[in-house]
Amino acid sequence: MILTINGKEETVDGSDLTVTELLQAKAISMPDMVSVQLNGKILKRDTFDTAFVRANDHVNFLYFMGGG
């Protein structure tokens, strides 16, 4: 399916993935260090296993950065 991820159109294998599955498919090495925005809404972390990403959705990964 085609998704827009951080502003760029990308093809991701599969359809109707959970957010957790998408994080795995995108090989996000530290999922604990990322917030996920799905179609404009920041998802609560405890919904990553139950929230679905569908074709043409807009997904943004927002990384935590703790340094200063």
């Binding site: 935590f64 950065m65 200063g68």
Partner: protein
């Protein structure tokens, strides 16, 4: 307020600048800004704010200058190693601009002291090196209606957002600090020194814009920079109704700190 002849010369490039002018420079000279963290981000932030003539500049940090800081913390020089960062900061900033009233706080921000620390300031700049402080500064600024600029860096990346009362806050995006153990710190993962310079300078510019009331702030947006690709991108965000601090049913109703070792203080288990 009348400018001295020295001030007219010192601030001439502001005074002739559209959107700043004499009135804007007066505003800056009357402004009070607190910079939390005098490290990689706090260095360019405080240098530019002092140079710009922000009248009162508070600097809060509990650390001493370490040799490993000098690769990016441009406020501190080699002879400062071992000295308190706030003392080193005051010395440089006073030399840069004697117009500025520098107030130093040799303390880490805590749930007990932060309300008192931020109370007197118009704008807060968060440039700390650890998540507990980042969340605490956010929560306190939301509670006490203080606008602030938040920033974080790691490796070749940086991230920043600006909050004004009513806009999305840090916690609207990041629910709570990542679990202990998964957080890569600058001391473990490294950071390109110049990233601190770029991101801190963006935070300084946001502060000046907020004080002057000009332009568009990074409000309801998060800016990400990556210097390897030299990509700058903004992600629009909205105030989160489920936010624990500014949402519809806030679960955080008083300030508290998360326990997590600070970036630079992380000590391997075996060395404790």
């Amino acid at each position: 307020m009348t400018f001295s002849e020295e001030q007219i010369v010192r601030y001439s490039r502001h005074i002739i600048l559209q959107n700043v002018g004499g009135k804007g420079q007066e505003k800056l000279l009357r402004s009070k800004v607190l910079v939390i963290g005098a490290g990689g981000l706090g260095s360019p932030i405080s240098l530019y704010l002092a140079a710009a003539g922000v009248g009162t500049l508070g600097i809060a940090d509990a650390d001493r200058v370490d040799l490993s800081n000098l690769q990016r913390q441009i406020l501190h020089f080699t002879p400062d190693v071992g000295n308190l960062k706030v003392e080193s900061a005051r010395e440089k900033l006073e030399q840069l601009n004697p117009d500025v009233n520098i107030r130093i706080y040799n303390q880490r921000v805590t749930a007990d002291n932060i309300a008192e620390l931020i109370r007197d300031y118009d704008f807060i700049v968060e440039g700390t090196d650890n998540f507990p402080s980042k969340f605490l500064v956010n929560d306190a600024c939301v509670f006490y209606d203080k606008p602030f600029s938040q920033g974080g860096i790691l490796r070749f990346d940086g991230q920043t957002m600006t909050h004004i009362p009513g806009s999305a806050c840090y916690r609207c995006v990041f629910e709570s600090p990542p679990p202990k153990g998964v957080v890569p710190s600058c001391s473990e993962a490294g950071v390109l020194g110049a990233v601190a310079g770029i991101l801190g300078t963006i935070q300084a510019a946001e502060t000046l814009k907020a004080l002057l009331g000009v332009g568009e702030l990074l409000v309801d947006k998060v800016l990400y920079i990556n210097v390897l690709s030299m990509d700058f991108s903004t992600i629009s965000i909205a105030r989160n109704p489920e936010c624990a601090v500014c949402g519809e049913n806030p679960t955080i109703t008083q300030l508290r700190e998360y326990e997590q070792p600070a970036c630079e203080l992380e000590v391997p288990e075996a060395a404790r």
